[in-house]
């Protein structure tokens, strides 16, 4: 009912594709999206697999609501073992790809092996073809999408740019030019398989029991919940709203996280973005339309999102909005994760200014800044050193204490010294430093909890991680702030049975522990759950968080409490009792 029951398995070695049955037991236990993709990877990948070898697998996973009129259900989970971190990696991409896959008849696509020559995958209902991408190889993702559209018409395409082809651990996948599956080097998994793009068109449809009743119920939810005052920030402003919030709280990353307040913030906040706004854009079935399509005289992008602003503007000492938009557009075309790219450029700036190594770029240098996406993606000039992200740069040149990553994934746009819970969230996120597993600022830095203490933070982070894990498995967009009760109400309309909020919380806990188990199997434990030393040792310089740092003892306290609440041991390993409880 909510599932097509079919998975498309593509082998790039043999060039063959076959359809197999979806594992229904796993679908019950993990729902779909994040959880189900991780389950397949946990069962099918050998520990120790090289993420750029043909033995890694790329999974595109829909959810039970994909293709329906359920609000905010249009995203796709994209998962693999991460080339950047060696951990499990699941990304979430919006736009319109996921529903087409479902209409074509598939709950998921699993891509194995490696093609001998560059190819792209074309799926149209039953028809599955691997077509030559030799003419596309070396092009950006944008040219790739346009060229494919010219020959195939109105398909939806996932594409990589030069960064993925050149195996950058900071390469992403783009769709509809400006939507990304961003982090952990997911784009280079496609690159390592010689897979340039995946295009899909589905002409089928989905039944639902008593569809008019379902539609009426969902329209009511859309009006009363999704589109209420608590969620319409996405339509009115989009994520750039957060710039002012972070600046106010003193947690806006500035000059490689040396500071939490940026003097130029007004030139890059949501009012500045609205000044160049041309249209709002929505993903499939989404009434919130968070996308901001902007045009200046010289450039355009759907964006910039908060993370891009934080890591590429204030973090690089750049307050030129037009330059940021162009940097964003370049990253989307080359397919570079803007968080990782911005952080790497900022790191290069600090290393240069401190005289540790001269990358020829300083904070605020707009001209050099705009050259970086191209140089990095093509591994040319200083880009050759910077292409592999901050951890690699630090290994080669030093500055490890202020290489701002956890597990080699660059830290996103919230300063942990002004939000201790966010620090714990970064340390314990499954794919490296991530703000999408737990996001404390609304309760902490922007809310009423004291941001500068460890008190109560572990409990908050655990709850947020489990809620987001089931949210991304059911597949609801992050930007709809909905309770597990509401999730249960919507899911129950489609999965053929009543599901409760408690069951969903249990699924979330199961998903989160499974991702931890995957990482454990790869050798990760407590030692990998720490933050860069800058957080413990360096004081922030100005604004609301002037003088703040996070003492290591406070972090240790949070981390130990976190493991205890999770039912893991002192080393951060899942206990047998917990595994049994969750059926792992």
């Amino acid at each position: 009912m909510a599932y097509t029951g079919k998975v498309l398995r593509v082998n790039l070695n043999t060039g063959s594709a076959k359809t197999e049955e979806l594992n229904k037991q796993w679908a019950d236990e993990y729902l779909g999206g994040k959880g189900l993709a991780i389950k397949y990877l946990y069962e099918e990948l050998q520990p120790g697999v090289d993420p750029w070898s043909e033995d890694n697998k790329l999974i595109l996973m829909t959810g039970p609501l994909t293709g329906t009129i359920a609000p905010n259900s249009g995203k796709l989970a994209v998962a693999a073992k991460s080339p950047a971190t060696g951990t499990i990696l699941d990304c979430s991409i919006g736009g319109h790809f996921a529903p087409q896959l479902k209409y074509a008849g598939y709950d998921a696509v699993i891509i194995e092996g490696k093609a001998k020559m560059p190819v792209y995958l074309y799926i149209e209902d039953d028809k599955v073809e691997l077509r030559s991408a030799e003419a596309l190889w070396g092009q950006g993702a944008h040219e790739t999408e346009h060229t494919i559209a010219e020959s195939l018409g109105d398909v939806v395409t996932l594409a990589i740019g030069q960064a993925g082809e050149n195996l950058l651990p900071i390469a992403c996948i783009s769709s509809e030019l400006y939507r990304q599956a961003g982090r952990g080097g997911i784009g280079s998994v496609m690159g390592s398989k010689n897979l340039k793009a995946i295009s899909v068109r589905g002409t089928g449809g989905l039944d639902a029991p008593d569809i008019r009743k379902v539609s009426t119920a969902l329209n009511k939810i859309k009006k009363e919940d999704t589109m209420d005052d608590e969620n319409m920030w996405a339509y009115s402003d989009g994520t750039p709203m957060i710039v002012e919030l972070s600046q106010e709280a003193g947690i806006l990353p500035t000059r490689n996280f040396q500071d939490g307040s940026f003097e130029g913030y007004k030139k890059i906040d949501s009012e500045a973005v609205k000044g160049v706004l041309k249209a709002k854009k929505a993903c499939f079935a989404c009434p919130l339309a968070c996308g901001n399509y902007v045009e200046t005289g010289k450039t355009m992008v759907e964006g910039p999102e908060y993370e891009t602003i934080a890591l590429c503007s204030s973090n690089c000492g750049i307050d030129d909005l037009e330059a940021l938009i162009e940097f964003n557009r370049l990253c989307d075309d080359y397919c570079l994760d803007t968080i990782s790219a911005g952080s790497t450029v900022a790191f290069a700036m600090e290393l240069t200014e401190k005289g540790i190594h001269d990358f020829g770029i300083r904070f605020g240098d707009v001209e050099k800044f705009l050259q970086m996406p191209g140089l990095m993606s093509r591994r040319e000039g200083v880009g050759a050193d910077l292409a592999d992200g901050v951890a690699a740069v630090a290994e080669k040149y030093g500055g490890e204490d202020f290489a701002m990553h956890v597990k080699k994934l660059e830290i996103p746009g919230y300063e942990p010294r002004g939000s201790f819970g966010m620090g714990l969230a970064y340390g314990t996120a499954d794919r490296g430093a991530c703000h999408l597993r737990a996001w404390p600022p609304p309760l902490e830095a922007f809310g009423d909890m004291d941001p500068f203490t460890s008190e109560g933070k572990a409990e908050m982070v655990v709850e947020m991680q489990d809620d987001n894990a089931v949210k991304f498995s059911a597949i609801f967009c992050d930007f709809w702030a909905l309770s597990t009760e509401r999730m249960a109400e919507v899911l129950s309309l489609f999965i053929g049975r009543e599901i409760t909020a408690d069951e969903l919380t249990e699924i979330g806990e199961r998903v989160y522990n499974l991702s931890r188990l995957f990482n454990e199997r790869e050798g990760f434990d407590r030692k990998d759950d720490y933050l860069p030393k800058r957080i413990y040792n360096d004081k922030l310089l100005s604004g609301k968080t002037e003088g703040k740092l996070m003492p290591l003892e406070e972090y240790e306290k949070m981390l130990s409490e976190y493991y205890k609440i999770r039912g893991w041991d002192e080393d951060g390993k899942i206990t047998e009792a917990k595994k049994k409880e969750l059926g792992l």
């Binding site: 346009h146 002409t203 449809g205 539609s215 589109m227 919130l288 339309a289 399509y293």
Partner: protein, 130 residues
Amino acid sequence: MKALIFHAEKCVGCKLCHLACSAQNEQVFNPTLARLVITSCFDRDGLVTEGRVCDLCQKCVEACPVDAITVKNGRLSFSEELCTDCSLCVDICPNDVIVDKDRGIGVCVQCRTCANWCPTEALTFEEVSK
């Protein structure tokens, strides 16, 4: 008589109108079965947002040789029993919004479900001259 008007400047490309139409009129979620076509995509020149809706021109009514499409109470009405699948209506629709199905056709019946679901009032129902 009132028919749909599409306001491109308000459209965000969410496809909720397509989903609502196919759910209401075909009992499935299938955008290709919707009786309107709205797209918002990036081509080489930038964002292109276009919409085609039924404006009650009634050329399909005139064209149908068996009166399977008629006007009742200011709205189009379709009878599957009378339809002979000749597809003349599909070909003649100047906005290309009649769905050619295996059995019968899908024509906009001015049910307003799409406008009800549109989050930005990009679809409204207004008097058309006919």
